[in-house]
């Protein structure tokens, strides 16, 4: 048993080496396939990270009347934090708002002079982040319908700043990119699998005469199959190594291309941090693809 295994492994390696062009073609096709799979994996990470960044930027800004006291605003904040749909509420006092406003308008003398003549005209502000973008509309509606009043019956909320159209577009974008991404990934993977199967089948088709001879000289199916499977393992290993190495210049290129986006994911860092995961993912995929293709193709010619 062990002797047979040793012979099968040795024979697989020798066949891989001697099959030269055919082995080379299999490795090239498999490398391309694994490169696509690896690219999709990294692309997905990039997409998720971009969506998270955009998600972080979306919020509801609630401006209060200048007469709303900190205690009253904090009470509203507390009420909002109790909602399951609210992820986080941040408070900005009247003084913070004024300082921020001055900073933004420091070059505008007219505004700066006007501000000097009056006391702080700005109210405090709450910035609300929802658990999911789809929750924003409900949160805004609840703030609008339930009048938030002080003890004398005056409205505390001055304005609710929430860009409905942008958020709706964003939600659609998230959903559409998810669907499109999955569809493209599936299509590419299916095409790649067919290509690998065809190439490996072709390689084994070339050996069909040999398989028939092996059968006629008394080799059993396992002994004939074995070296083809080992060839598949070698091709899978080599291709996954090549694919994972080729992805490195690709992620550097993507980093250069996306340099204009200030808060993009550091794809190179992501690649380096996830190198082992990526390698084992591609090695696993390469192994499964090439071994399955070898097994399936060799089976066809074992009926002599």
């Amino acid at each position: 048993m062990l002797l047979n295994f040793k012979r099968i492994v040795k024979s697989g390696f020798i066949n891989f080496w001697r099959s030269g062009v055919v082995s080379f073609a299999s490795v090239v096709v498999l490398t391309a396939t694994l490169f696509v799979i690896g690219g999709l994996y990294l692309g997905q990470a990039l997409l998720i990270s971009s969506l998270e960044t955009i998600k972080e930027k979306v919020d509801i800004s609630v401006s209060f009347q200048p007469y709303a006291t900190e205690v009253e605003v904090m009470a509203v904040k507390h009420q909002l934090e109790l909602l399951a749909t609210v992820k986080e509420v941040s408070y900005s006092s009247r003084e913070d708002e004024l300082a921020d406003f001055k900073k933004r308008n420091q070059d505008n003398n007219l505004i700066m002079q006007s501000l000097a003549e009056v006391s702080n005209p700005l109210g405090a502000r709450l910035n609300i982040k929802a658990v999911d973008p789809s929750h924003y509309e409900n949160i805004v509606n609840s703030l609008k319908t339930e009048d938030v009043l002080d003890s004398t019956g005056r409205k505390l909320i001055y304005d609710i700043n929430y860009r409905q159209v942008d958020i709706d577009r964003f939600i659609s974008f998230v959903k559409a990119s998810g669907r499109l991404g999955s569809a493209v990934a599936m299509a590419l993977i299916i095409i790649s699998i067919f290509t690998v199967f065809s190439t490996v089948s072709l390689a084994i088709h070339v050996s069909r005469e040999e398989i028939a001879v092996m059968r006629l000289v008394g080799a059993n199916n396992r002994y004939i199959h074995g070296p083809f499977i080992i060839e598949g393992v070698v091709a899978g290993l080599l291709s996954s190594l090549l694919a994972v190495l080729l992805l490195y210049p690709a992620v550097i290129w993507v980093r250069e291309v996306t340099a204009v986006f200030p808060e993009r994911l550091d794809l190179v860092g992501y690649y380096l941090n996830h190198f082992s995961t990526l390698f084992f993912l591609l090695f696993g995929a390469g192994l499964v693809l090439s071994v399955m293709a070898s097994f399936w193709a060799a089976r066809k010619y074992l009926k002599v």
Partner: protein, 226 residues
């Protein structure tokens, strides 16, 4: 040892390859099967190797009905039979040594046996100096000698040879026939097909003649009906 009992073979394209063929071969016998191209000689050998199965009738090897033999047991049967083909059928990616060693490895023989037996059979067929050549570096006669060495290395009970001299010149033909005779002298049953009169005369033993799938003559004295 081998018994063909009213064997008929009709291929899917409805061509009749064998028609009610009955004969037997004894252990240690040298049988030559003659007939023109398409007479059914190759089909007859394929029946012994169970590459083909009879449409009707039965082929027995000792007490085994080959018709009933499952595909999973074929390799065991084939280890008892050495086969030589007109087109040599060597493994192109293996050296001469590896081609012969493969048969022994497939039969589960030990490495020590392989190291001692392969050089011995190559010596026997006169190719001791071609160990590391690949098939495409050999002449037709040399390829056929490798095929014979491969066929006999496991000391099979039966050696079947399908037109083994079909691609060879007269000198090589004569030498190959002498090798077969030597193998037969050592006790192996040999069944050889040919349409070459000189081969039949050189063997000089029992000859059966096939015509359009029918067995028409069975001459014990090696008389050629061609």
């Amino acid at each position: 040892m081998i018994f063909f009992d009213r064997v008929t073979k009709i291929y899917p394209d409805r061509s009749l390859a064998l028609d009610q063929v009955t004969f037997s071969v004894d252990r240690g016998e040298f049988l030559t099967v003659v007939g023109h191209s398409g007479a059914g000689k190759t089909t007859l050998l394929k029946m012994i190797l169970v590459e083909e199965r009879p449409t009707s009738g039965a082929v027995y090897l000792d007490s085994t009905d080959l018709r009933q033999l499952g595909r999973q047991y074929l390799h065991r049967l084939r280890r008892k039979i050495g086969s030589v083909f007109q087109d040599y059928r060597l493994l192109p990616n293996k050296t001469v040594f590896e081609n012969i060693a493969f048969t022994m490895e497939a039969a589960g023989r030990a490495d020590d046996d392989i190291s001692s037996d392969v050089p011995y059979v190559l010596e026997l067929v006169g190719l001791a100096d071609k160990f590391w050549n690949f098939p495409n570096q050999l002449s037709g006669g040399e390829k056929q000698r490798v095929a014979i060495a491969r066929a006999i290395v496991n000391q099979p009970d039966i050696l079947i040879a399908d037109e083994p001299t079909g691609n060879l010149d007269p000198v090589n033909t004569f030498e190959i026939v002498q090798i077969f005779r030597k193998i037969n002298d050592l006790g192996t049953t040999v069944i050889l097909t040919t349409h070459n009169k000189s081969v039949v005369e050189a063997v000089g033993q029992r000859v059966i003649t096939l015509e359009n799938g029918r067995l028409t003559r069975d001459d014990k004295n090696g008389r050629d009906a061609l």
